[in-house]
Symmetry: C3
Subunit: 160 residues, 3 copies
């Protein structure tokens, strides 16, 4: 069993769409970044890359590369899963925490779980999706940005 973890932060800014865990969320602010800045998928992609010891999202998809401008971060996640498969790894569980005051995740929970299930090839009961505020404290508390944490558990074929 291999368990990787990921952490990511992006700024909330006007005039950007808000993508979270592969779903566009109606909100007056969006996340700034070179790609679609989906902080949830970035943390998750890093967790998978960490599980297989394959660097991080910046190694494979550098923000200096024009190919990744405004791109759907599901592409990064798919490539990380492909790399895991090439190493004999099979994803069995993920758990994601979105950290921020707003928007509320509840109304979008079903849509996000459905999308993640499709992207990851996992049943919804193998996908943790959680949200927490920081009670008004710190940069997430002031609404300056959103953070996300994720863990991903893989098992290796023919190995431990």
């Amino acid at each position: 069993t291999l368990t990787g973890q990921g952490f990511d932060v992006h700024r909330l800014v006007p005039d950007r769409p808000l993508w979270l865990c592969g779903v566009e969320i109606p909100f007056e602010l969006g996340l700034a970044g070179h790609s679609d800045a989906d902080v949830g998928l970035h943390a998750l992609t890093d967790a998978i890359l960490g599980a297989i010891g394959a660097g991080d999202i910046g190694v494979h998809f550098p923000p200096t590369d024009e190919r990744w401008r405004n791109v759907d971060s599901a592409i990064f996640l798919a490539r990380a899963l492909e790399m895991a498969g090439e190493q004999g790894g099979r994803l069995v569980h993920v758990d994601i925490t979105i950290i921020g005051e707003r928007p509320k995740i509840g109304p979008h929970r079903a849509a996000i779980l459905s999308r993640l299930s499709q992207l990851l090839g996992l049943e919804p009961d193998r996908i943790g999706l959680k949200a927490t505020t920081t009670e008004g404290l710190g940069f997430t508390g002031r609404g300056e940005g959103l953070a996300a944490q994720a863990v991903a558990t893989l098992i290796l074929r023919n190995r431990s």
Copy 2:
């Protein structure tokens, strides 16, 4: 094997008791929140819910519900463990990190481990309890609040 993670933050305020990991800690400030605001048990409860893909603490125990006002967060943890059992999961290990400058956890380590062992049904050597400061930086460094992180590992009966 399923490994979930949780993260939580609460504000330190006067005139509230300080509950940490199920133990009341003598301190001049306490944690603000709808329940007893036990940041350690909240992170742990979320880690267990994340491991079984069962939403988060806010889904099951919304702060808008008067039933949970000033309630002992051990109730939330017990319910998450019950849900895990219903899904065929058995908790084998947890690890918690309390993040903040004060109070020091050391003098309360034995009491907390004893309480967690009782609440979780785990031997103390299967319970990680750690504390770290942020060296005066950020909202935890300024003593505005406490944060907690946790991971929980479950195994599934009759499955992987």
Copy 3:
């Protein structure tokens, strides 16, 4: 399977060397602390201690102890691994995330992986090493300090 996690923060200050994950990194600032303040090795040591339920780095190597002044944090990591071995545990995977704007980890990735592989007795494909910024937000975004998160997975001989 036991999965522990660790988190640590140290301040960036002038006139200190910068040690990260066991490697000295050329940079105009270094990390402040009693030991060499290697935030990566501290998070990793705490993750291993958390996996075996053996307290935290402050319990075993208190900053009030002159023995640990300016000491190489690889000593802490080695002791945690030794304790894990005494409990019948074998480390199978680690994953580390360094959180901060600068320095960039990329140019030092190979050196860090080589050093961690030596310290941990793990093949590089069992070592996740990731870096992320907080996009200018918070204390890491302002360059006041570096944070690190780690997870460590151990298996127990003759047990689950």
